[in-house]
Amino acid sequence: MLEVIGVGSVEDLFGSIPAACRAKGPLDLPAPLSEHELLTLLRGLAGANRSAAGDVLAFLGAGATPHIIPQALDDIIRRSEFLTAYTPYQAEISQGTLQAIFEYQTVVCELLGLEVANASMYDGASAAAEALLMTRRIKRRDRFVVSEGLHPEYLETCETYLSGLSGAQLVRVPLGPDGRSDASAVKAALAEAPTAGLVVQSPNFFGVAEDLAPLADLAHEADALAVAAVTDLVSLSALAPPGACGYDVAVGEGLGYAVPVSLGGPGLGIFATRDAFKRQMPGRLIGETVDADGVRGYVMTLATREQHIRREKATSNICTNHGLIALCFTIQSALLGRSGFAQLGRLNFAKAQYARQAIGALDGFALRYDAPSFNEFAVRVPGGDAEALTADLAKDGILPGVALGRFDPRWKDTLLVSVTELHRREDIDRLVAALAGRGGRS
């Protein structure tokens, strides 16, 4: 090869790099490992953790709610043809990816009750931030009203995304006493100044099912767009979808539903909107077409919104997205099917109701909010320190929920408990018994 190139050594190929720019010394990294040694190392690191999916009995959700992932799903996505393909730039040899994403877009539209979905974003939080930016493009305004029921990490991500845009203002609206967004406060915030978008999450961060429709009406009355966030897609089996409640944009997170939670990533950013706004959407879109012989096929389309064509005038900078997780989502939805998805919702709801009633009835424990929930609910703990309680129960191999003080000191007394189809009745009973053992203690 060197002969064909016409150089004497491989080092000669690096002659264009000035001597002064060369690395000062070789890389100081650990020595290479064989496959067997590697797996030993990785197993060691994995063994230094306690898995929430087996080593402990966990009731953790809060935007990363684990669900049953069917065996067939991982089998399909390990196929090299999906796993090791690039972005489908050359349509004729990427039909597998393209058709799968077209199906993904369809399923997302069905779940959220909207008309157009993109080919995926990174996660729910960045999708929420992109939704704000889309409302900004459409309304040409820099002010946003956000319910405090939005996941705090989504809120923080939105703030970070807006930080470089001069004049951008994000107004937070507190929840009412029943745990739902306070409609009068939302109305007042919208009335203060012209606003681009209102963001509401349902079920909200505390697990409370929001009354979505009136809030969208308030946004529209103030000439703002309404954005809904969904952090556990399974909730859409029981709750009216954002599209049906009048929302213009819906974003969601596929972590847990499509893939194991894996310390929080990679998940799946879901983004859908109305047909009228499709040219303002961020991200890729796949469309149906035909080939030169009239055979049905799929291509990336409406790309004039995107960075590789429009550069600084693009609707977003996104390029690599979460395509493989979008495929996982599509497979999960296809395997569950229409009846399975509904059944999954009923299981989640019934099990969470069972736990909610039992824990709510415990001495010293009280539900933080009374409004209905789906598969997650917030509980005030006796003694007022949810983190201490969690640490205590962790010793017995139980993680009773997420102690919310880590997000806001005002929520120090609150535990967010997630109950899904993964929990058997005996698991829930064990949790209730463990909590009862701590009841009334201070």
Partner: protein, 497 residues
Amino acid sequence: MTQSCVTPGLLHYEPPIFEIGAPGRSGASMPALDVPEADPAEVLGDLAREEPPHLPEASEVEVVRHFTRLSQWNHSIDLGMYPLGSCTMKYNPKVNEAAARLPGLAGLHPYQPTDQLQGALELLWELERALCELSGFARATLQPAAGAHGELTGLMLIRAYLTAQGNPRTKVIIPDTAHGTNPASVALNGYKPVPVKTGVDGVLLPADVEAVLDEDVAAIMVTNPNTLGIYETHLAQIAEKVHGAGGLVYMDGANLNAIMGKVRPGELGVDVMHFNLHKTFSTPHGGGGPGAGPVGVVERLVPHLPRPTVEQDGDRFTLDFDRPESIGRVRSFYGNFGVLVRAFTYIRELGGEGLTQATEMAVLNANYIRARLKETFGPSHDVDTLHETVFTGKPLKKETGIVTMDVAKRLMDHGFHPPTVYFPLIVPEALMIEPTETEPPEELDRFCDAMVHIHAEAHQSPETVHAAPLQVGLRRLDETRAARKPRLRWTPPEETE
């Protein structure tokens, strides 16, 4: 329109999943209800969903066959060479997949107490250290989900730093060879991109940068080696000038595969750089993602890194949320952990020596292709290139009317994914080829033979080349039709005209 097609051999024309199965069918395996039944509609009232979503209705075998058949319509790195320039389509070792699926890693919840996450945090810490050793930076954030996300994060860090210095400034200089994400990220962060032309020898010239450099310039954003595959020989000098004017230097690390073990950007005056773990560090692209785009920074930018950071405290690892000067978080949780595990596994598999060798073999392979094809397709610049090489199809177009897209489509008939085409924008009829280090010499030869063959065919039988692809099951797809009347979701056949 639906056209029924004869299945040629094992290549199945597969309808959308919504046209498969029958009402009531499901592939779900659902646990029994072991608690008292509770009707959501009763409790939720008005909030309840009225009609279940129209999801597919198919059995497990139907779903599995559907996606297996779809998969067979994809080209992939495991099937053959995928020489997309600046995309670094190298082989993805299988051990990475095994590692990421270990239950003690995949089963972790982000809100478990950190004493239950010590192995994961150690892995993140070690990965950050390895990336810093490779690049010469002080610290790195692992949060960004992709290269463009890393760019945005890096620009936010620059803005935060300059704001703390008293003035965030307004402009970012970007060479005309840059990937489209660069100007898009700049705009997304509220800066105005200022283009600067690449010199005739394919590199940025300090004088050209100086001509647009002023007190409003927040940073310059440079890809090195650039998208022509050429090392930016004046980068250190340019960095000095930008620093002199109070600006910072951002390096797009998309092409890091060309310089591992050879150059540490942090030693050259670069202040911020993102890595593409799905390019340089062998994590699979998955048909478009997920990737990971960690960002490395020099010491003075460290206080602004996204929170939380992973910290080592004796033999314990912790998450540090208490970072008052942080830009905040750019996403939920801590990053694309599953991708980070794969990249960590790759780095430990190769070690420092192996990574350096990967770079050397990548550059060797690219130069071999350049040498073999330079008489057929002219190189874009008569300058040495590193890990990728750009040819122009302009002479071929002039001689035969065959354009670069025709060559690309015809390559499919030879079993190859085409190179990146029509990019960088400054090269007419560009063909940008990056073979990576994992292609064996025989595959490189097959690819070069195919290119030479197509070049000859363009002269002898241009109509054949223009009609390509002819062997992949589908002919060229009508993109104009897709854009004119967008059909972006499936609808039942009776609802279409």
